[in-house]
């Protein structure tokens, strides 16, 4: 199942740790992380857990169910 990451723009400080963990999913657009693709849940949660600002949530795009945090 592919899941979707959501970055809270107001919390994201542009550390870029999510990009290090999941380069195919996140990209830094200037100073904010943007989500470029859906991906496997383990990878998205690993990226969310790596975020020092706790700015990333993960949802199931079909049901809208919140998977992280």
């Amino acid at each position: 199942m592919n899941c979707r990451a959501i970055v809270d723009e107001n919390s994201c400080s542009g550390h870029g740790d999510c990009v290090d963990v999941a380069p195919g999913i996140f990209r830094l657009e200037d100073d904010i992380a943007v989500v470029t693709a859906d991906g496997p849940i383990e990878l998205l949660i690993a990226a969310a857990e790596a975020c020092p600002a706790a700015a990333i949530s993960v949802v199931d795009p079909s049901s809208g169910e919140k998977l992280y945090p």
């Binding site: 107001n10 969310a48 857990e49 706790a54 990333i56």
Partner: protein, 402 residues
């Protein structure tokens, strides 16, 4: 507008985020940044970690590659410091005597390490604020010697962890009964202290350095209780003071420039961001200093939006993190408001989750290796728009009215 554009004093994260946001929002006037060091803006957290212990010289900590500044027409004035702000003529004087005019000014030149008079003038006494400090201290770390660290704040703890990982003998000297006690309270401070002692660090609490002995280099610290600590290197991490010396006579506050939540100072067209500020937090109704990465980012962005006359989003919660050993400590919220603390130790002793409550409502959280706990807490606290201090404020107002 006179075409003098935006001047940013300070070459750190807050200034860079301001410049980035201005360009992103389409600002096409000039942007100049005065950087006291010879480097373009760089990331400070690695200075106490991988940059400090690097022996390869390959670690890049620049926040942006050099060509970013060319492409975005952000002019860096390197190796220069501001020495005077002339508010009436809207100019900043630099240490080479030149003056720079501005339409709008961002003051973001940060803070400097507080020093200990008893330890001044010795060549093996270090503070750690910038690349130069890290380059001087780096070679003394990992030599198998004895490192004495005065102060158990995050800088002290991170240097301790880096040095310990390389096999140094480390003693942390803390004046309070436990690390970070003034922010997190004694119970959490005790847990944090334990993280270090379990990893072989000697932690001396309620301990103060009285004097130093040695010829040019400190060889021994004499403590107030008369005990002696032999050491090869000393790191002082006892807090920072805002670098406001150059603003004397400007009318701005020298103990931290007072700003509103949109980074505006009391002087129109002059903004401040990062370590140098004392900024308003609408959630607590208070002005406070916050010397953390996330505040620098938010305030730098807010300054840019204010300069452009755009609305500034409500500031996020104060937060910080610290990486030490195999631990990540994360914090969010306002622990200073708490009237009760709940500590949960994980199944693994490397895990800790702390909830700070006020009137049974979550106001802050700290977690070690429990990122989800912090993320959940952050979402909960975010929803609190005003920390119930309103009632206190109203009470005070009522009292003062009566």
């Amino acid at each position: 507008m006179t075409g003098d554009g935006v001047l940013i004093v300070g070459g750190g994260l807050a200034g860079l985020r301001c410049a980035q946001t201005l360009r992103k929002k389409g600002y096409d006037g000039s942007i100049r940044m005065v950087c006291a060091e010879d480097s373009a803006p760089y990331d400070r957290p690695p200075l106490s970690k991988k940059y400090l212990t690097d022996r390869t010289g390959d670690i890049v900590i620049s926040l942006k590659p050099d060509d970013w500044y060319v492409e975005n027409e952000v002019e860096l004035i390197l190796g220069r410091s501001a020495v005077e702000l002339r508010v009436d003529s809207r100019r900043v004087v630099l240490d080479d005597g030149s003056t720079l005019p501005f339409d709008q000014l961002l003051i973001a030149n940060g803070s400097e390490a507080r020093s200990l008079p008893a330890l001044e003038g010795y060549e093996n006494v270090h503070s750690l604020r910038n690349i130069g400090d890290a380059r001087r201290l780096g070679p003394e770390i990992g030599t198998g010697g004895h490192l004495a660290i005065v102060g158990s704040g995050f800088i002290g703890q991170e240097v301790a962890a880096s040095a310990r990982a390389l096999g140094d003998q480390v003693t942390i000297i803390e004046a309070m009964p436990s690390p970070l006690e003034h922010i997190l309270g004694s119970e959490v401070g005790g847990h944090i202290g334990q993280l270090h002692t379990e990893r072989g660090i000697t932690l001396l609490t309620e301990a103060k350095v009285e004097s130093a002995r040695g010829n040019g280099r400190v060889e021994e610290l004499r403590m107030e209780d008369g005990s002696l600590i032999a050491c090869d290197t000393v790191v002082v991490g006892v807090g920072v003071v805002p670098s406001t010396g150059w603003l004397r006579g400007s009318g701005l506050e020298l103990d931290g420039i007072v700003t509103d939540a949109s980074a505006r100072t009391r002087i129109p067209g002059i903004f401040a961001a990062g370590d140098i500020t004392r900024s308003f937090d609408p959630r607590t109704g208070k002005y406070s200093r916050s010397e953390h990465w996330d505040s620098a980012v938010r305030q730098g962005r807010a300054a840019a939006l204010s300069m452009l006359g755009e609305p500034v989003p409500r500031p996020g919660l104060p937060s910080f993190w610290s990486d030490q050993y195999d631990l990540r400590i994360q914090y969010v919220g306002h622990a200073e408001l708490a009237d009760r603390v709940e500590v949960e130790v994980g199944t693994d002793d490397r895990e800790l989750s702390v909830r700070f409550l006020r009137d049974d409502r979550l106001v802050a959280a700290l977690a070690i290796n429990e990122p989800r706990a912090v993320a959940v807490a952050s979402k909960t606290i975010e929803q609190t728009h005003d920390f119930n201090i309103k009632s206190e404020r109203q009470n005070n107002e009522l009292q003062s009215n009566s």
